[in-house]
Symmetry: C2
DNA sequence: CGCCTATTTGAAAACCGTCAAAGTATGTGG
DNA sequence: CCACATACTTTGACGGTTTTCAAATAGGCG
């Protein structure tokens, strides 16, 4: 009964009764992915939702010019493909594993039915969508009012809050999250390193001075040199 | 029974039975606003949702540097304040009437109860949130991959689709919708005018050549001069 | 007519993307 | 254990787009 793992772990399904959980488990398939694996691809017909049991997943889109944009990072209990399934459109982004990932796959019809018939679940879905909408709107505002340096500082600060002071992303991924090029991301992080705010190594960043980071993120531009 | 107007007009409430509609009407208050009036203010406690019966409303935020950003334009049947009410946070933006507006005001508790107990309504809410999330994510991508000229072209094209070829916005509002300054908005629209794509007058823009607009919006940069 | 707001234009500077080239860690196979 | 391949990181120079600051013009309304 390994599949119960997701159902029991995820707050999203916490309120189901035993019978409902059993049904959910019976219609779901468990899959595993390694770092880098593609879970679903932009443009594919959206026939399944994917519930993350463990691990992290990035949702990316590629602009016509080939620039990667990371829209969201999903973690435990997040549901991937929900919006596309509900809107009846092809998957909007490509989802790829950032770490080894365990996932429960549920058929579109089962998921929709579950959301339709279970008020607790639809309530959770509404909450979740509200949070994501806010996040997206906040990012929009950041793009308009912040320089790249501030955006990177905000990102690193938020990631540090969420996953600890060691941040396992490449400069390219940092760039894709703040919507810039790898070169500028490197130049910005290099300045942070100069200022002893972070330490860098291949594929990861360690936060040393979170306070200074939040100063840069929120305050006016600060002269780092 | 004027208040029934909103309830009957809005697809959001179309599936309620008579008794439910009556209840909704009994707990809502009808209000009217003139262009420029503030309907709700960012930071206020979110105690009501506002259902637009007629007219248009802009949702704006001001960056710390005083730059205005128009997040969304709401129209008939849209619900303002929904996300803030559901998340239990203060209003996230300021809503101001773009035209004369009729609105039904509903208490937070009544609205939440309605969404919780009526599966049809929660379904509609989920749909609505999914659409808004997609919109927001698309805008994010635009900011990263498009120049101002393309963003303005996209905006004008979309507005023309939605409200006809006469677009009743000032250059400042155009600027706030695409996240730029009024000066660049003016420079871009002036170039469009040169190229006979639009005509401009104080506070409004008339679209002449929608096709060329969509070329600029989607295609590669085009030399206008 | 006079005032207020919206629009316009110019010039300089900031910020960031692009292109090109080189350096450096990590792992693999011999 | 070394050498090589690969991917990640770094740096410099240049140019294009957009912001900023400043000042002038024009439309609409009482």
């Amino acid at each position: 009964m390994k599949k119960l793992e997701a159902v029991n772990t995820c707050s999203f399904f916490g309120t189901l009764n035993t019978k409902e959980k059993d049904k959910l488990v019976s219609v779901s398939i468990e899959k595993e992915f390694n770092r880098g694996d593609t879970i679903l691809q932009e443009g594919e017909k959206s026939s399944f939702v994917y519930i993350i049991v463990s691990g992290q997943v990035k949702a990316t889109r590629f602009t016509p010019e080939g620039m990667e944009l990371i829209l969201e990072i999903f973690g435990q209990c997040d549901i991937i493909g929900q919006v596309s399934v509900i809107l009846g459109e092809p998957y909007y982004f490509t989802a790829a594993a950032l770490t080894p990932v365990k996932i429960n796959v549920i058929k579109k019809e089962e998921f929709v039915h579950l959301v339709r018939t279970n008020p607790e679940i639809s309530g959770k879905a509404i909450n979740n969508l509200c949070l994501r909408l806010r996040e997206s709107q906040k990012k929009l505002e950041e793009f308009i009012s912040d320089k790249v340096e501030q955006r990177v500082a905000k990102l690193l600060f938020a990631l540090a809050e969420k996953m600890g002071t060691e941040i396992p992303f490449t400069r390219q991924e940092i760039a894709s999250m703040v919507g810039t090029t790898i070169e500028t991301a490197i130049r910005v992080t290099s300045r942070f390193k100069e200022a002893k705010i972070i330490k860098t190594s291949r594929g990861k960043i360690n936060i040393i001075d979170k306070q200074k980071l939040s100063l840069i993120a929120n305050g006016p531009p600060i002269n780092l040199i």
